[in-house]
Amino acid sequence: MRRGGGSTSPRDGGCDPALRFSGVVHRYRSLVALDHLDLEVARGETLALLGPNGAGKSTAISILLGLQRPQEGDVAVLGTDPRSAMASGKVGAMLQVGGGSGLPHGVKVGDLVAMTSRLYRRPAAVERTLERAGLTALADRQTHRLSGGQAQRVRFALAVAGDPELVFLDEPTVAMDVDGRRSFWAMMRGFSQEGRTVVFATHHLDEVDAVADRIVVMRGGTVVANGAASTIKAAVPTRRVRFASPGADPARLRELDGVDAATVRGSEVVLDSLDADATVRSLVASGVAFSDIEVTGADLEQAFVALTGDLVDARTVDDAVAGPVSGVQTGLVP
């Protein structure tokens, strides 16, 4: 049930999408934050929202949480308006905090989670929420004694305490180390696999790759790319395959699948590839001797930079296989 409502058009009336922006425009004085934003997220989907600062992400988020009203266009969250959805307790959110922990002092983790649960009509059991967030052992700890990563997990627990259908996470792993991030996403994955919708924004693009069903890249208040991670990465020459191969022939390497450019420096070979998987497969099949292979480069990051800068022509990023909800625009908007 990963994409529960994915095949159902909202017009069928059966299952509304988790959220839908249609033609949303929002301006701050002369600055256009959202420029006719159209976006739809199916129930059960895990969506990553990317974009540079000023792309309109924050505005879109505050509108979908009911904190701001759009000046033009329509926004529906779980089939109703954002404020009603929030008041109904079916939406949870983990917002970014500035310098602080985002938590009140003078309270134990368990008591804070318990109080937050009581704000919701049909909350999850407190023990379940603590377990979900990996906080069972920290239930008796005072909030001001938590590390940055632990505080972050408590904020995740608060976001899911109400057993929400839709969770929004803004930069959820920002204060975590690598291990913390890994276990956070494992925890989140478990949550989303229960058929819930998760929308998250992050700057750690490697996480997006591993976690999201679909990625939406925003720029200038509108969607510039929309599709699975592999699709978006394929839109730009992003991957770099590096290995050692003494005496390799650059011309032959260029023949390999997906290779866009090949550089040979001594025994070190660097291939720029549009599809690293295919390149590695054909490298193996070619019989070229190699060792110490690594696939590096910022892959998605490079794609992201290209998409949000002006580096890529308006080539279509089409996600034919894992196509998102019908009606959602898939492609690079020039």
Binding site: G89, G98, L119
Partner: protein, 249 residues
Amino acid sequence: MTGLGAFLRFEVLRLLRNVRYVGISVGFPVVFYVLFLHNEHPAAHIAGTTWRTYFMVSMASFGAMVASLNAGGTRLAAERASGWTRQLRVTPLPAWSYVTTKIAASMVIALPVIAVVEATGLLLGGVHLAPATWAALTMVLWASALPFAALGVLVGFVASGETAYPLVTALMFLLSFFGGLFTPVADLPVVLRHTASFLPSYHDASLGWAVVAGRAPALGDAGVLLGYAVVLGLAVTWRHRVEESRAFA
């Protein structure tokens, strides 16, 4: 609205578990009462009652004020800085509930603070009042704490984490001293006597002084306090709105 009850209970418990806060709110008025009780003869007549009773009323007002200013002020400023107020906005709690719950929590704490000072007057000060007078005094002083609860929350919104503490301390000093809570207003220089009539702290204690002297509380005092409560409440609401629109813009 079970959520509101849970949130209020949470806020009150958080205040009560804070040893420093409880120490200041209860300790200050009780210690000052015991210390300054003998500045005059406890049985000396003043404003239709005895000094021990008059000063007990002063310190009960003072305690409620200290508890209210500290409940909002410093802690609220720190919470705003930490991002907790934003997190609360993305729960089903309605937007107005944050401010109202803060004020309500202050009021919940003010009542036992008043009671503790009264108990000190009874047990250590030798204050004797009819049960109905005790009850009336408690209710009048409690209701009069409302503008201070609103003021505490306002300070928490206006000040930052660093400036809240000195601001609360200054307000505590100014309101109590110039409001005649330590030195009876009649003993203050003429200029300050006029100043006192503008301060909510003076009108708060005046209502209590009237009750213990067997006089009817003056409507003027109640009116000034109500006016302060309304103005400060509106100011808090306005600051809250401004902050919200800023935080999410």
